[in-house]
């Protein structure tokens, strides 16, 4: 039966997908300093080193601050744009919205390089805020994609009904729109946070003296002795990302359930 061989193929494919990630915890707890088999002893040492390295903690603080700011700003932009795109028609709508979504199809290095050029020209210095600016640019399209789904799923007449029953546009937004779009908002915040946290190339160009976590990790990669620490750090980051992702998915499903709709598969 064709289904069986296909299933085997898919399982092998999944193994291929997960292979590198599985290695992370393996070597994070390995006491040997070289990343190779056979494994040596079990140790928490690398994890302890993660939490005691000053530069690492600094970079983490930077990353978290940036990621939170990016999540909030991108989601706000996403709300505006998604609502404009789904509820209203205005001249050149396709072009304008398409332009805002453009960063999705641009190689990140182009975005990084062009922002750097502008900074040089304007005489501004690199740092946390330039990274935030760059990240918001690439995260907003994701936010729009998620929130567009939320808005299209919401019956248009619900807002009209609320107004008809006596509410103002503002209170309508608060009492009807927001609760129904909330799962999408939360998903957008989490996704944008994750993207910003993991992003490397824009941060590499624009973080200057305030490195983010990925930039810091990059700096460590040329020192073989520090590699196990990277393994431990990586394990923590992966675990965090997975938790965030599961939370985002939970909220997305809850949103669907509340609206009584069928699940059609993911953030598509």
């Amino acid at each position: 039966m064709k289904g069986q061989s296909l299933k085997i193929y898919v399982i092998l494919y999944l193994v291929f997908l997960y292979a590198p990630i599985v290695l992370l915890p393996l070597f994070a707890f390995n006491s040997g300093t070289v990343i190779a088999f056979p494994l040596q002893g079990f140790t928490f040492g690398w994890f302890i080193e993660v939490f005691t390295t000053q530069a690492l903690l600094e970079a983490t603080r930077n990353s978290v601050f940036i990621a939170v700011s990016v999540a909030v700003l991108s989601t706000c932009f996403g709300l505006f744009a998604a609502r404009a795109a789904t509820r209203y028609n205005f001249p050149a709508k396709g072009g304008i919205v398409g332009f805002v979504m453009l960063p999705l199809v641009l190689p990140e290095i182009i975005v990084a390089v062009s922002l750097l050029v502008v900074l040089i020209q304007a005489g501004l210095s690199t740092g946390i805020w330039s990274v935030i600016a760059g990240h918001v640019l690439i995260c907003t399209p994701f936010s729009i994609a998620i929130l567009q789904g939320s808005f299209t799923n919401m019956d248009k007449s619900l807002e009209e009904a609320a107004v008809d029953l006596g509410e103002t546009p503002l209170s309508t937004f608060r009492l009807v729109t927001l609760p129904l779009v909330a799962p999408g908002i939360i998903a957008s915040l989490l996704i944008c946070f994750t993207i910003s946290l993991d992003e490397f190339i824009i941060a590499f160009f624009l973080s200057g003296n305030e490195p983010t976590l990925p930039v810091y990790i990059w700096g460590l990669l040329r020192f073989p002795a520090r590699v196990p620490v990277i393994m431990a750090l990586g394990t923590l980051l992966v675990a965090l990302s997975i938790i965030l992702l599961i939370t985002a998915e939970y909220f997305r499903r809850r949103g669907l359930r509340r609206a009584g709709k069928r699940d059609v598969g993911g953030f598509l």
Binding site: E160, A161, D164, L165, L175, A259, G260
Partner: protein
């Protein structure tokens, strides 16, 4: 009964969408406590007009007066109207009670009063005890009742209904039609219903405005609309209308010569249009011709023909009869009386006819 001020007055209302002239000079008055329908095919402007009354569309010129006040610039949430939307617009994140109580938020009522009011509203629409139900657990008919309760609890002067029955299956539709009539009588406020289903409009309304292309073609009660359409288009839109060819003569009074039936004098109010003599179409409803069986009393005016088609409905039988001398068959509806046979295709039959039931379209 003293003549009351009409609750709604539409004065030469025009609406343009860019170049598209959606409403072309709508003028009408709707009375207190009336069950009023806007009837017409898709795109005729009936929904646009309803939304304009509700306040969701601006009008380009003219005036909409509600309760004697001009509604220009008045937002929907400040008008004395409430609307039942075509999709019912039940808030999915609230249960039934919260949905119905939604409009009471700003009323300043105490929680206990609100609960009581909600209970009464639900009882009125036949959903007593459904308060705790989740929105997505409701059937189509139940959603509609929740939408009704939610609107009526606010005691609007006018209830606007946008094709409320189109999403229901046939049986449910028939049930709800009767329920809506009863509800309106009980509550006593003006209902304005938008529909494309002429049967629905005939059943429920006190008066109907038939709209074509942004204009009111005829505004009348159902009986006048059916018996005395002002144009062929209205006549054909409402119910089933047979059309026979003939010629009109005007000397002194009107007389008409109909192919397949014969000559007859007719009253002036039966002539619609220019009134010019010559070739005309004569409209006759299915129930205005009667097939004569042997035991029927003698009739003054008869005609003969061949049965072309028989459609049996249980309580009625429809015969397509090809009259001798007529080009097209006419459809005749006959009640199925016990003991009377159903004719077969190809059988010859005699019909009786009364010219007082005809409309002449010139």
């Amino acid at each position: 009964m003293t003549k009351q001020e009409p609750i709604i007055r539409l004065e030469n209302v025009h609406k343009y969408y860019g170049d598209y002239h959606a409403l072309r000079g709508i003028t009408a008055e709707i009375g207190q406590g009336e069950f009023f329908s806007l009837l017409g095919p898709s795109g005729c402007g009936k929904t646009t007009l309803l939304r304009a009354i509700a306040g969701f569309e601006d009008i380009s010129s003219g005036a909409i007066m509600l309760g004697g006040k001009n509604m220009e610039g008045v937002a929907p949430n400040h008008r004395p109207t409430n609307m039942v939307f075509q999709s019912y617009a039940i808030f999915p994140h609230l249960n039934v009670e919260q949905n119905v109580a939604f409009g009471l938020r700003k009323s300043g009522m105490s929680a206990a009063d609100k609960t009581r009011a909600v209970g009464q509203a639900l009882e009125m629409v036949g959903l007593g005890g459904y308060g705790a139900r989740a929105a997505h657990a409701l059937s189509g008919g139940q959603r509609q009742r929740v939408a009704l309760a939610r609107a009526l609890i606010l005691k609007p002067k006018v209830l606007l209904l946008d094709e409320p029955l189109s999403a229901l299956d046939k049986k449910m539709r028939e049930v709800m039609q009767v329920e809506l009539i009863k509800l309106q009588r009980e509550v006593g406020i003006t209902f304005i219903l938008v529909t494309h289903d002429q049967e629905e409009a005939l059943v429920m309304s006190d008066r109907i405005a038939v709209m074509f292309e942004g204009e009111i073609a005829q505004l009348d009660d159902p009986e006048r609309l059916y018996r005395r359409p002002v144009s062929r288009r209205v006549g054909e839109f409402i119910g089933m209308m047979n059309l026979l060819e003939g010629s009109l003569a005007h000397s002194g009074g009107y007389s008409v010569d109909i192919a397949g039936l014969g000559r007859a004098d007719i009253a002036p109010e039966q002539v619609v249009g220019s009134g010019a003599a010559g070739a005309v179409s004569i409209g006759l409803r299915p129930e205005t011709l009667s097939i004569l069986f042997d035991d029927d009393p003698k009739s003054a005016r008869t005609a003969q023909g061949v049965v072309d088609e028989v459609v049996y409905y249980g309580d009625m039988t429809y015969y397509d009869l090809r009259l001798d001398g007529a080009a097209r068959p006419v459809r005749i509806s006959m009640r199925n009386v016990v003991g009377r046979p159903v004719l077969e295709v190809g059988a010859r039959a005699r019909v009786s006819w009364d010219p007082r039931a005809f409309t002449v379209f010139t």
